[in-house]
């Protein structure tokens, strides 16, 4: 079972990418991109995990107790918040596309409009 978390990360990456490739709606596409990004969370947290390790918070716990890697957790923590704002930026692009063309389907945006 030691491969299982890595496979979950790969699965999230692929299923999200499949959604991006076949998407017929920009909002759906942005959500799929968020799924792709969440695969990196699973992968990095998996690499930093240690069986029996406690969270890297030493409030009332002696230093030296086995704990998981704090570096990957710090990466994830900032990225979750930043990702939300990037998703908002992409969604605002979708809003503008819909205002300008009346459609959210990427396939209907073939022709260049002057």
């Amino acid at each position: 079972m030691s491969l299982f978390p890595y496979l979950v990360a790969a699965w999230l990456f692929c299923i999200g990418l499949y959604g991006v490739v076949t998407s017929r709606n920009f909002i759906h596409l942005v959500m799929c991109l968020a799924v792709v990004q969440s695969s990196t969370y699973v992968l990095l947290l998996t690499i930093g995990y240690r069986i029996g390790g406690m969270p890297p918070v030493f409030a009332g716990v002696p230093v030296g107790t086995p704990a998981v890697d704090p570096v990957v957790q710090a990466l994830m923590l900032t990225d979750i918040v930043v990702e939300a704002t990037v998703v908002a930026l992409l969604l605002s692009l979708a809003v503008q596309v819909h205002k300008g063309t009346g459609t959210l389907n990427p396939d209907h945006l073939r022709e260049l409009q002057g």
Binding site: M1, S2, L3, F4, P5, Y6, A10, F13, C14, L17, Y18, V21, T22, T46, I47, G48, Y49, R50, I51, G53, P55, P56, V57, F58, A59, V63, G64, A67, V68, D69, P70, V71, V72, Q73, A74, L77, T78, D79, I80, V81, V82, A84, T85, V86, A88, L89, L91, S92, L93, V95, Q96, K99, G102, D107
Partner: protein, 265 residues
Amino acid sequence: MNPRFRRYFFLISVVAFFGVFAWGLHDLPPFGHYRGPYGDILNHVAVYERHATDVVTAVNFDYRGFDTLGEESILFMSVIGTSLLLRPQKKETDNNDGKADNSLQRDLDESERRRAPAASDAARVLTLALVGPLIVFGWYIVTHGQLTPGGGFQGGVILATPPLLVYLAGDLKTFKRITRQEWVEAIEGAGIFGFVLVGLLGLFVGGAFLQNLLPLGQTGSVISAGTVALLNIATGLAVSGGFVQLIYVFLEQTLEVKLRVQGGK
């Protein structure tokens, strides 16, 4: 590229991806057997060196504070980009002259049809009663970042929820008043600027950018870990300002219409 070809192309890419992924996994430690040195070193030294019991916060706001500044700039830029893209356009505001074009008329009509029923009394009592506790809780999370899980990012998001609750309670006038643009923008800007300013302090005394030069205080007390606490507050301001700004610009798309409908009643 037609959809069929796109799917085949995707399949080939996935096969190639799994090849590279398997190759990459080959040298990784098995799940649960962490062996990188950095995490263990930090877990051992952070409490003594920085007097912070939450090592994740110590990494974010001290050891790798410069990276967090980068992340915050991404956040700042995304919020600015969203505000720019969704700012009210001339044709959307000048709709009283009777010369509004058709696309605008269509937008307005859709918004009117989307109008939700007024918030029930139960929803209003619950949401408005939560506003105070959430502000206290948000600041608690921001200021205790160096002790327990929490910090500027998490607390900032919590601090951005009270305006949303006011909106959910159906009180649009209050919502507009507490999300006054100049205030929200000033809070967000002050957060980013404060972060840079704390960083520059280190340069002024002849040290490194973002060097932790304040007294470290007693481990476990709220005022400890030196600049980590200040940077947490700055980040909390930036994140809460940014999220309120995002909430505002998205709601603004329908807000003007709603306010007009409410005022006309």
